[in-house]
């Protein structure tokens, strides 16, 4: 029986639970007798703790414990590195010494009977420091770039330096050039749900109800931190209220919650404040990029030089794919990329939706736009003239590449033909109108994953994976894959995720969940059917576990990426400089679309994220002590409903037999990539002013 569930716009299977409040998030798992913990953060940006007056606070009502580096247990912190952790450096060892490495770093944790008592005690705790001025501004001349250790090998996943041909001399010889610096502000993920952990010990066993995009790694990391076998730790996270990457890593607060619970001998609940989420749980690093393009007069790219630098902490080298797309997006014989890190006195950055690619593509796609004006060639036409036949960086064919189809489809739906090429030539009444376009790309990753499927005697099926659903609709899409594979209606399939004792899954990021977990579920469903065929029906459940991963031979033969094209129209007020996105349309080639309703929702959300990056989002640090001054939802600007216009997402028909058995390439990240440069290019088209620093604000376009 084929049910054609894959490809149908099934409504979210967990929608009802979410809107009725039945869905339980980490902080909802209150435990009997639990105490409440509040983290006290350093009020200096660099220095040492010299004194902590714990005694008066310990006497405050309800206070159960005040834990500082002086009385905290020395934790084993056995070596543990997942691929989600920076390859070089060591995680923050929390409350293990008197050093302050960045503003807001936890220096104490207060535990009390009620949240209110804990908050008041935390506010009353007096701490003395010796302080130095931290270095927090990447543009500060004292900031010294370093070559990322993990990028030094030529076969590194994110090589620090790559080259083909001779890009510098080709650039020098090029008749037409663009050579500019692009800058992107630090951004914080700011999901709705705050980070939260409820920790409960039972002897040497620990249960963590904890917001996580990677429950099996949280289990492994906490096991390593406390020197316990991983099977002693259970991590549970059935629902996530948005994350955008901030819960990929296991941050210090999880250790603190577990430490506090052990210290006080009670379950402990710890929820971060919104403010703490601006410095304790990672951020999109500030980046500075030089992008230089050389071209012939008829628009053939002869050289690309891309030098990008991202900030990192002093104790870990956070790397992202800042320069990766540059090597294969266009056909050109000469490319040189360089990726450097700038260690600063800040917490370690981490992946934020579309990490690296979103930032790198901003520079590349703005530079290409600048080149199109210099050449007097339509920006889409310029891209078409440089469309490669293969991935020239690896000399491999693409498993599929629909970039120009995306441009054609989105251009038509958007009405690109109505655009007048001249900047500042289009108006709507008083307003300056501009249209911009950009390409987008993101790798089609696939990580090994496992799944368990169980056929029950009542004709229903259960499927379990230690995966996560931070909002894209994983519950729903995986139910579709299982239902289709098993030939069952979706109502008879129950998919569960978010427990570390389920078959392990990779982190819920990198747009690889559909490919990885989906393939594992498909394999488990096939395996359980085979098992059923072998066994007589005896009224007992039939179970099978299977894993799936990409065939290494196929992986070696093809370059695998998603591609897309994004179009944006802005209106700029010529008097007061307000910039409004009026509409946007994107088209994406992402292989098979498992659920068009979810896919569209993913794209709209990603585009709004890209809009935030282009026009609003920026965490501002006070250079005197590294504190974020706008760590507040009223001050850190994100698009609100009134800002978001009609957004269209289209999918080109794309059959990719190579990526995986499901033919899916992933969608979460690419939807953000490309939006920011499309908007920046539209702002230029509207105003004639090129702003190369994100976010673009009123003050940037006031003077032309």
């Amino acid at each position: 029986m084929t049910t054609n569930v894959i490809g149908s716009p099934l409504q979210r299977v967990d929608g009802r639970a979410k809107v009725t409040g039945a869905a339980r998030y980490a902080a909802d798992f209150n435990q009997g007798g639990q105490a409440y913990a509040v983290i006290v953060g350093a009020t200096v940006g660099l220095g040492r703790v010299t004194g902590i007056e714990t005694a008066p606070v310990e006497k405050m009502p309800g206070v159960v414990a005040v834990i500082t580096h002086r009385n905290a247990p020395r934790l084993p912190y056995a070596p543990h590195k997942s691929y989600i952790d920076p390859a070089t450096g060591e995680r923050l060892h929390v409350l293990q010494d008197d050093q302050v490495r960045f503003y807001g770093q936890p220096v104490a944790i207060v535990v009390a009977d009620t949240l209110d008592q804990a908050e008041r005690a935390a506010a009353a705790l007096r701490i003395a420091y010796t302080a130095e001025r931290p270095l927090v501004d990447p543009a500060d001349p004292k900031a010294r770039p370093v070559v990322p250790e993990a990028g030094k090998q030529p076969d590194a996943r994110l090589p620090a330096d790559t080259a083909r041909g001779n890009a510098d001399s080709a650039l020098a010889d090029a008749p037409v050039k663009v050579d500019e610096i692009y800058e992107i502000a630090r951004e914080n993920h700011n999901p709705m749900e705050p980070h939260a952990t409820v920790a409960a010990w039972n002897g040497n066993r620990l249960t963590l109800w904890s917001k996580s995009q990677f429950v099996v790694n949280e289990q492994a990391e906490i096991a390593a931190v406390f020197g316990l076998p991983p099977e002693n730790i259970q991590v549970i996270c059935p629902f996530i209220g948005g994350a955008f990457g901030t819960s990929l890593r296991t941050w210090a607060h999880v250790t603190l919650a577990a430490m506090a619970a052990r210290q006080v001998g009670r379950p402990v609940k710890l929820v971060l404040t919104r403010k703490q989420m601006f410095f304790m749980t990672g951020h999109r690093p500030r980046t500075l990029q030089r992008m230089a393009l050389g071209a012939t007069a008829d628009g053939k790219l002869t050289s690309i030089v891309h030098e990008g630098t991202g900030e990192t902490s002093r104790y870990e080298e956070f790397m992202e794919a800042l320069t990766s797309v540059t090597s294969f997006l266009y056909s050109t014989p000469n490319v040189r990329t360089r990726y450097r890190l700038l260690p600063l006195d800040i917490g370690t950055p981490n992946h934020m939706r579309g990490p690296g690619e979103a930032s790198g593509v901003f520079a590349l796609e703005c530079a290409v736009d600048e080149l199109s004006y210099k050449l007097g060639i339509d920006p889409i036409d310029l891209r078409r003239r440089n469309e490669p036949a293969i991935d020239e960086s690896e000399n491999k064919p693409f498993s599929s590449r629909s970039l120009m189809k995306c441009h054609d489809l989105a251009a038509e739906r958007f009405g690109w033909s109505r655009r007048l090429p001249e900047p500042r030539s289009m108006r709507d009444g008083r307003l300056l109108v501009g249209m911009g376009v950009a390409s987008a790309s993101y790798p089609a990753f696939h990580a090994p994953a496992n799944a368990r499927a169980r056929l029950l005697p009542d004709g229903t099926a259960e499927v379990e994976v230690a995966a996560s659903d931070m909002g894209p609709g994983t519950y729903t899409s995986m139910t579709q894959v299982a239902a289709e594979t098993l030939g069952l209606p979706v109502e008879r399939v129950r998919f569960s995720l978010g427990r570390s004792d389920y078959p392990p899954a990779p982190s819920h990021g990198g747009s690889w969940t559909m490919a990885s977990v989906g393939s594992a579920i498909r394999a488990a469903c096939i395996a359980v059917q085979e098992e059923a065929a072998k066994r007589p029906r005896d009224g007992r459940p039939i179970e099978a576990t299977a894993s799936a991963q990409r065939d290494p031979d196929v992986a070696a033969r093809f370059s695998m990426h998603s591609f897309g094209a994004v179009f944006a129209e802005v209106a700029v007020d010529p008097d007061v400089g307000t910039i409004r996105l009026r509409r946007a349309a994107g088209a994406y080639g992402i292989g098979r679309v498992v659920n068009p309703r979810l896919a569209r929702s993913q794209c709209i959300g990603g585009m709004i994220g890209g809009m935030g990056m282009a026009l609003m989002e920026r965490t501002v640090l006070d250079p005197r002590d590294g504190r974020p001054v706008n760590a507040h939802m009223a001050d850190y600007l994100l698009p609100v409903n009134l800002d978001v216009p009609q957004l269209e997402a289209h999918f080109v028909e794309e059959i990719d037999p190579h990526v995986n058995a499901l033919g899916v390439k992933g969608l979460g990240e690419i939807a953000l990539v490309g939006m920011a440069p499309a908007i920046a290019n539209a702002v230029f088209h509207a105003t004639g002013k090129r702003v190369r620093s994100l976010p673009i604000r009123i003050e940037d376009v006031l003077t032309v």
Partner: protein, 325 residues
């Protein structure tokens, strides 16, 4: 949050009596509770005034009278307000968010505290929060701060939108305290920071705002509010302007102009008004007059753009008075 008592009152008299003994009024609580959560405000006793009969909106002749407890959302949606004083409605709609406007009262709006980020940070000096502790903003990040009316002690802008409109319209406020009732221009409610930035308003201890009265005039219907900011809603003004023009036979008879986002209090610009009167309402005239707004302006390290944005906002708001809302 520190513990506090909460007492409900049902008469104006009881409210005033309670406040005279050091209690604080609470209306919508949208700003007071927020600051209490962060222990910036630390009242030990609150008097809930929401049951007082002060939420009426009435029309008396050409005047509009708005009770102190009328909610921002209700005032903005009121047909009489929209007809008689569209500027007031427009300035309210541009403020805060729908959720906040449903709770927030007009009286509370006028007394809201500043949005300077350091004001909320106990680990930063702030003369307004802790007198004589210093000002973190003057040498810090101050892109949102004021260029007019600042002192060496405080440079925070007054954040209210509707206050800008009320000051432009010569609205008055009716207050009652232990020593009886008085009426004075809304403009006089706000103090300059000087060397006492912790003192923000001129209400006497125990005084309760009863109502705001807005006189109608020939210019009321040619009055507009322009709020300039980086997103469309839920953001305080970078610069805003409330403008009203009475134009007869192609000549400006009367002009009203106040601006927000640039002053330490809602900033009336009488020099600019004077420069407009007797002239034709055209862009050149507006531009020349708007330059006068910068007199005495003192930009900080991060807000030079306001010198450019302020006159542009004024010009545009003046132009808008000739356009339908």
């Amino acid at each position: 949050m520190l513990p506090f008592t909460l007492e409900k009152v049902t008469s104006v008299q009881a409210a005033i009596a309670a406040a005279s003994s050091g209690r604080r009024f609470i209306a919508g609580g949208t700003t007071l509770i927020d600051l209490m959560r962060e222990e910036v405000e630390q009242p030990a006793h609150l008097v809930d005034i929401n049951a007082l009969p002060l939420s009426e909106i009435r029309i008396e002749g050409s005047d509009l009278v708005i009770g102190a407890l009328a909610r921002m959302a209700d005032v903005a949606a009121h047909a009489g307000v929209q007809r008689l004083q569209p500027l007031v409605a427009e300035s309210l709609i541009e403020g805060a968010s729908p959720q906040l406007r449903n709770m927030a009262s007009i009286g509370g709006n006028l007394l809201q505290r500043v949005r300077c980020p350091y004001f909320r940070m106990h680990d930063a000096p702030c003369n307004k929060r802790t007198p004589n502790s210093g000002c973190a903003a003057i040498d810090g990040l101050n892109a949102g701060h004021a260029i007019l009316g600042t002192s060496n002690h405080c440079v925070a802008t007054h954040p209210s939108d509707v206050a800008v409109a009320l000051v432009a319209l010569d609205a008055t406020m009716q207050v009652r305290g232990p020593r009886g009732e008085r009426t004075f221009p809304v403009e006089e409610l706000f103090r300059l920071p000087g060397d006492t930035p912790h003192l923000e308003h001129t209400l006497l201890p125990g005084e309760l705002i009863l109502a705001v009265r807005i006189p109608g005039g020939p210019d009321s219907r040619r009055a507009r509010y322009l709020k300039v900011r980086d997103r469309a809603s839920y953001e305080f003004a970078l610069v805003s302007a409330a403008a009203a023009l009475d134009v007869e036979d192609g000549v400006i008879r009367q002009a009203r102009l106040a601006v927000g986002g640039v002053g330490t209090r809602p900033w009336r610009l009488r020099m600019v008004e004077k420069a407009l009167i007797g002239k034709a309402p055209d862009r050149k005239i507006f531009e020349t007059a708007a330059r006068l707004a910068l007199e005495g302006a003192r930009p900080l390290s991060g807000n030079h753009y306001k010198l450019e944005l302020l006159p542009r906002t004024i010009v545009r708001a003046l132009e808008m008075t000739g356009e339908a809302a």
